[in-house]
């Protein structure tokens, strides 16, 4: 079971680059890259809120649950 982060898909839809999104969300590009590449172990609600605000989307648009045990 894992959580998939679909940040890159949403960034393409909203036509926004990583550095611009990092500035809007007020986190470093490195941290955003960690999230984008699926290496993050956790995300703060404040960060999720800022991402949804910047990308004008819902948390469900950014996060997807994949059941790999089936």
């Amino acid at each position: 079971m894992r959580i998939i982060v679909k940040l890159d898909e949403m960034m393409v839809k909203r036509k926004i680059r990583l550095n611009e999104l990092a500035t809007r969300v007020d986190i470093t590009e490195a941290n955003l890259s960690i999230l984008k590449t699926g290496k993050a172990k956790a995300i703060r609600f404040s960060t999720l809120e800022a991402l949804c605000d910047a990308l004008n989307c819902q948390p469900g648009d950014l996060l997807e649950f994949e059941n790999t045990t089936k």
Binding site: N31, L32, I34, K39, A40, K41, A42, I43, R44, T47
Partner: protein
């Protein structure tokens, strides 16, 4: 963090300038200098054992070269373990001075220090037995001694090792928390 760095710097300097030279000089004075007069009674007292036996003590200086070399090599194992532990400790302090507290490197060093301390504690009673025998081997028949002892110093060493093991576990937990925090966005 500032406190950790200053304590680490002080301990590093203290270890390099005071502890290790003193330990080396102690070993040299004990075994290599002809004027050394330590006896097995004095050695046993250092180890925390009360002696009631009326044996004629034989200073190390009176030992033939072969026995002295054997004694020195047995003591050298303990000395080597101590030196290795001190070297690892200094490496750990250098990591702390660089601000590296809960990292894989510090955890690795803590593990190694625990193992060295454990080995040193296990070897301590063995060393006492062997050195006691060697220091009395040149005594007249009936005055040679083979003693097996577990002293208060050994109990203290076991507590110290136990404390180090708990510290190592705590460092591991800290490392896991830090690792998780680093990957929290």
């Amino acid at each position: 963090m500032k406190n950790v760095k200053s304590y680490a710097r002080f301990l590093e300097v203290f270890s390099i300038l005071i502890v290790m030279p003193l330990a080396s000089l102690s070993f040299i004075f004990r075994w290599l200098l002809p004027a050394s007069t330590i006896t097995h009674h004095a050695y046993a007292s250092d180890a925390g054992i009360f002696y009631a036996l009326n044996l004629s003590p034989l200073p190390i200086a009176s030992l033939p070269l072969e026995l002295r070399a054997l004694g020195a090599s047995i003591d050298a194992i303990s000395f080597g373990l101590f030196f290795w532990g001190a070297f690892l400790f200094i490496k750990l302090l250098r990591c702390y001075r660089q601000g590296e507290i809960f990292s894989a490197n510090t955890l690795f060093l803590f593990n190694k220090i625990s193992r060295v301390a454990f080995a040193w504690t296990l070897y301590s009673p063995v060393k006492f037995t062997l050195l006691n025998l060697i220091l009395t081997l040149q005594n007249p028949v009936g005055q040679r001694e083979l003693a097996i002892a577990f002293s208060s110093n050994d109990v203290i060493n076991i507590f110290t090792v136990g404390f180090f093991l708990i510290l190592t576990s705590l460092m591991h937990e800290g490392y896991m928390l830090k690792h998780e925090q680093d990957l929290t966005v």
